[in-house]
């Protein structure tokens, strides 16, 4: 049976949702805990009833988690990249690897994780 708690905050910035979720999970010791905005405030959800410590720690997390930024948002878009876009990017990488292998002094292939990481890193700089 899930348990819910409501929170409010005076902060004027939007916390980074990924960091906030991680902070709440750490604060409550519940790896499945979640927190989401409902327009008027915030609602926390966890598997067990909320203790006073959970409430206090989650409130702190809500108030202090770093605000989201354009760079973070861009990286989260990469994380949620549709398969078709990923296919386009990786097809180009495949072709690049063909060229790299055909060089007089061949270069090693770029792996998929390396390619995605590079795209993610680039998105974080835009």
């Amino acid at each position: 049976m899930s348990s819910y708690a409501t929170f409010t905050t005076t902060r004027t910035t939007t916390p980074d949702p990924v960091a906030l979720r991680a902070a709440v999970q750490a604060a409550t010791g519940d790896p499945t805990a979640a927190i989401f905005t409902t327009g008027a405030g915030w609602t926390g959800k966890k598997a067990q009833p909320w203790s006073a410590g959970d409430l206090s720690a989650t409130q702190t997390a809500l108030d202090t988690t770093a605000a989201t930024t354009a760079a973070l948002t861009n990286q989260q878009i990469v994380d949620a990249m549709p398969m078709v876009l990923k296919a386009v990017a990786l097809t180009l990488v495949d072709q690049l690897n063909v060229i790299r292998a055909a060089l007089p002094v061949p270069l090693g292939a770029i792996t998929v994780p390396q390619a995605i990481a590079a795209i993610r890193a680039k998105a974080g700089t835009l």
Partner: protein, 384 residues
């Protein structure tokens, strides 16, 4: 309207000389000049009831109908020749019975018939109704210029208030009513209203503490008293707000809903069974359902759904939401889904068919398995 020359003519001597030799006295002036005018400017009261043909009214300008029971005027004596073109007549219903003006009723002499302008009878409410007529000499008919039963054309209003509750069959609507105020303390369901006259408009308004329901083609009421909502289902007005506008169609012998307002959101109570995941399990807890409501605007339905921190296990593709009524045909569109893949809500495809909304990821893959990390937000529009 021509001036009545009867009395003037009476003043002429037999030899045609004008006023010569006439001995003027006060009585002569009164008899010949004033009395006829008084008679025509006077009010005439009738207590007649039932069907009345070629009703005599002494050519008064005002006909007061003090009828104890219903009176139907099937014809009124045409005015005498000098008054015939344009003769005005105000009919007022002051009695306990309604006064109905029949249109072109063949039971009266042709020249005494009425043209109501609606090709249908006009019912004047007991005690308050009125109608203004003038005699059309060219067509030799009385023409109704205005009346209290008409709405939107300068006519007056007949307001009725009810405190009835529960289910009411064949609601006793006041004749000629234009507004029915439902001041019901608890829920009121109307399965039908007393039949109106052809073209009669009626606004049914909820002003009480209970909801008002008008059912569709309900066999609980006599056929001619039933309502056609146009939705094949009842219309519900929330307590204290909302209006249903109806018109009575004598041809189909039904009240017909023209419009209703405002459009009300209906909240769908949480039920875990409303959310399924095909081969997998999509778990939506009660607190996850932030919004699940719908409104029907004519034959178009709008459903708004916001689900937070739901859980996915196994292969959920698509996630399926059950709605409380069936769609007409299949409709699709875009929504947003947070699928445990970062923090972003991304587009998804919804497809409404029957009583379900199926939600697919854009790439067609299964939803990611996750606990408390799947969010759905849909604004769905479809015909029903």
């Amino acid at each position: 309207m021509a001036i009545d020359r009867t009395t003037w003519t009476a003043l002429l001597d037999d030899d045609g000389s004008n006023l010569v030799g006439t001995l003027w006295t006060k009585d002569l002036v009164k008899t010949l000049l004033l009395d006829p005018i008084d008679a025509r400017w006077a009010e005439n009261t009738t207590t007649a009831t039932g069907n009345q043909d070629n009703l005599a009214y002494a050519e008064a300008d005002v006909l007061r109908c003090n009828n104890a029971t219903a009176l139907t005027l099937r014809g009124i004596l045409a005015p005498a020749a000098p008054l015939k073109p344009g003769k005005p007549l105000l009919i007022v219903a002051i009695g306990a019975g309604t006064v109905t003006l029949n249109d072109q009723d063949a039971n009266s002499t042709a020249a005494n018939r009425l043209i109501t302008g609606t090709a249908a009878p006009i019912a004047l409410a007991a005690g308050t109704g009125w109608a203004m007529l003038r005699y059309d000499g060219a067509t030799a008919r009385w023409r109704v210029l205005a009346n209290s039963a008409a709405t939107g054309t300068g006519g007056g209003a007949v307001v009725q208030t009810t405190t009835s509750t529960g289910t009411v069959n064949n609601f006793a609507l006041t004749a000629g009513a234009t507004l029915l105020r439902c001041n019901n303390a608890t829920a009121l369901t109307l399965t039908g209203l007393a039949a109106g006259t052809d073209g009669q408009r009626l606004d049914l308004r909820s002003v009480g503490a209970g909801a008002v329901t008008l059912t569709d083609q309900d066999a609980g009421s006599t056929a001619a008293n039933r309502a056609i909502t146009g939705l094949s289902e009842a219309i519900v007005l929330a307590a204290g707000v909302g209006v249903i506008r109806l018109v009575y169609d004598a041809t189909t012998a039904r009240w017909v809903v023209l419009a209703y307002a405002p459009i009300f959101w209906v909240d769908v109570p949480y039920a875990g069974g409303n959310f399924t995941g095909g081969a997998g399990t999509w778990t939506v807890d009660s607190g996850d359902q932030a919004t699940f409501k719908y409104a029907k605007i004519g034959r178009v339905a709008v459903v708004i759904i916001t689900l937070n921190a739901t859980s996915v296990a196994g292969t959920v593709n698509p996630g399926v939401i059950t709605i409380p009524f069936a769609a007409s045909g299949v409709t699709s569109g875009l929504g947003v889904l947070y699928d445990n893949s970062g923090s972003l809500i991304v587009p998804c495809v919804w497809l409404v068919s029957g009583t379900t909304i199926a939600i697919y990821k854009l790439d067609g893959s299964a939803w990611a398995a996750a606990t408390n990390n799947t969010y759905v937000k849909l604004d769905v529009e479809f015909p029903w």
